[in-house]
Symmetry: C2
Subunit: 339 residues, 2 copies
């Protein structure tokens, strides 16, 4: 096994350890330079969510029409459901139990009849994981619709991105690339097959899976897949000061995705760089996980996708070739392109 790179350099400064990308650069500039965190904030910027004294876990997720979705792709209920599920997924990424959500919602003027349907989708996503809608703010919008969901959860032992060590094993839940496949089909003027469409419209926050894992397995690192496996594994690599080597043949792609995209290689590209699957990526020690017990308890597969080595960055291993370094290549929400 070849080492994928030189040892990681010392962590620069005290800013949040995020992977590469323009959006993360902007977030780093913003929240960097404020000095120390308040003592009652146990985990600050740079992980999936913040952790407060008392075990409260807080995350926000912003969804903008014509950036993150198009109205023509989704029913109004799905807009509300998806934005809420995305925020709840950040709690799962900390192994936190969801308690409630606050939702700030601005909706296109003249389309107030669909507002109730958006709100009903918010409620449905919250209820599905035992959370309550605790409050929010409403406005009309003179332009695109916009939802910002704050998810609040609780954990005595949140799982961060920073504990992966060389020799550890990397896993993902479910199958990847479906949400990006649906976007690809829509933007090409096609209709995605139902299961691929649902991967975008109705992502399931892996709350149960995260709580099961936290109760049964010593987890070294945990993130949810919002930026694509390459991008999110990059957050683990940066947060832990290690390299993540992904096994190209082991990465599970969504059912039907290879048919839709014209082959396994294109499907793998979406799994690595497409984003918004809201599955979990976790790192365990070399002893791994009882995948059968996990599947029985949680109803979703858990698949080994790679290993942790000394070094930095994310690498893709294909049979008979040296590991290839991956750029983050996730969707950049500041780039201004359409989704």
């Amino acid at each position: 096994v070849s080492a994928p790179g030189p040892p990681a350099p010392p962590t620069p400064g005290s800013g949040p350890a995020l992977g590469a990308g323009r959006e993360f650069d902007a977030i780093r500039r913003w929240i960097g330079g404020d000095g120390d965190l308040p003592a009652e904030v146990l985990v600050g910027p740079g992980d999936d969510a913040a952790v407060l004294e008392g075990g409260w876990v807080v995350s926000t997720d912003l969804m903008v029409e014509d950036v993150h979705f198009r109205a023509a792709w989704l029913e109004p209920e799905e807009v509300g459901y998806r934005a809420t599920a995305a925020a709840l997924s950040d709690l799962a990424a900390m192994a936190a139990r969801p308690v409630g959500v606050f939702v700030s919602l601005a909706w296109r003027r003249g389309e107030e009849t669909s507002l109730d349907r958006v709100q009903s989708g918010v409620r449905e996503a919250a209820r599905a994981v035992g959370a309550t809608v605790l409050g929010g703010d409403l406005s009309s919008s003179p332009g695109p619709g916009f939802l910002d969901v704050v998810a609040l959860g609780r954990s005595d032992a949140p799982v961060l991105r920073s504990g992966a060590r060389p020799g550890d094993v990397v896993w993902v839940t479910g199958a990847l690339g479906g949400a990006a496949g649906a976007v690809r089909a829509w933007t090409a003027g096609e209709t995605p097959p139902p299961s691929i469409r649902l991967a975008f419209a109705r992502p399931v926050p892996r709350t149960d899976a995260a709580l099961w894992l936290a109760g049964h397995v010593p987890l070294r690192a945990l993130v949810d897949l919002s930026d694509g496996l390459a991008g999110d594994a990059g957050h683990v690599a940066a947060g832990s000061g290690v390299a993540v080597v992904l096994d190209a043949e082991g990465i599970p792609v969504a059912e039907g995705l290879a048919d839709l995209t014209g082959g396994r290689a294109a499907a793998l590209e979406l799994a690595l760089h497409g984003g918004e699957d809201y599955e979990l990526c976790l790192v365990t020690g070399p002893d791994g996980v009882d995948v059968e017990a996990f599947r029985t308890a949680c109803g979703v597969p858990l698949v080994r996708v790679g290993r942790v080595e000394e070094g930095d960055g994310v690498w893709l291993q294909t049979p008979g070739a040296p590991p290839e370094r991956l750029g983050s290549g996730g969707f950049d929400h500041l780039a201004g392109g359409d989704p």
Copy 2:
């Protein structure tokens, strides 16, 4: 003293006690009907902020370009400052000490150069009250800019809207109507005088005042003035099951506002119904407050503006006439009009 109305009817259902208005109806529909709050949520929807086990206080505030402000009115720093100050004002309204903010920000495509300036305004408002920017989310917007600010604070004894009793006294900090006066001038194509402009662009969250009051005076109820004094006093009246009778002659209006609007009556109208002053409205027992000590400690006036009686709603007392019932008449952010 005439009683301003019949005794309050029994509180209907268990929904949040908000005043009148279409925006509040929509919020009621949304968050009503979810049954009981989780046990670890001590105060839920219907007050200025939610209160969590452990004394965490959480509030969100949404600001939409061309609904809540226009880009031509404000420097980018002021957009960030104002949105953050508004969210922090909700913490002051609970007598909570600010700890941090999360900011979700979508900014017009092609105007990314002003993004840093918006973020700098966010940081300035947070730092001014000892809070840290703990995280957030960034996106481009294909339409108007949006900011959603989540403020997190801490309080061992948050002050709600529900403790006012007949015989109590109603007070406000500062002077009212300035922010609405600035909007009125701008929409008429005029330039508001500097102090009136600043009331809109640079509202000061009354954090210090709220903490001083909570430490020195038994507060029966506390809200911040975001919907206009009539609307926010209506929240106190609804939350406490009482009538609030305001003394028309006692209500302090912003300096220069009467000149700008053509007289005291028009200025009073803005103070009652204009909104977004972000001053505090508080209710004390009949013993009141040492206003000189308050002013010395907090650098802002505290003025007696009315009393609490049996009944419901908000009433305006003018000399020599019976009290007149006020509609909420605050700005309705669902109505779709320009600000």
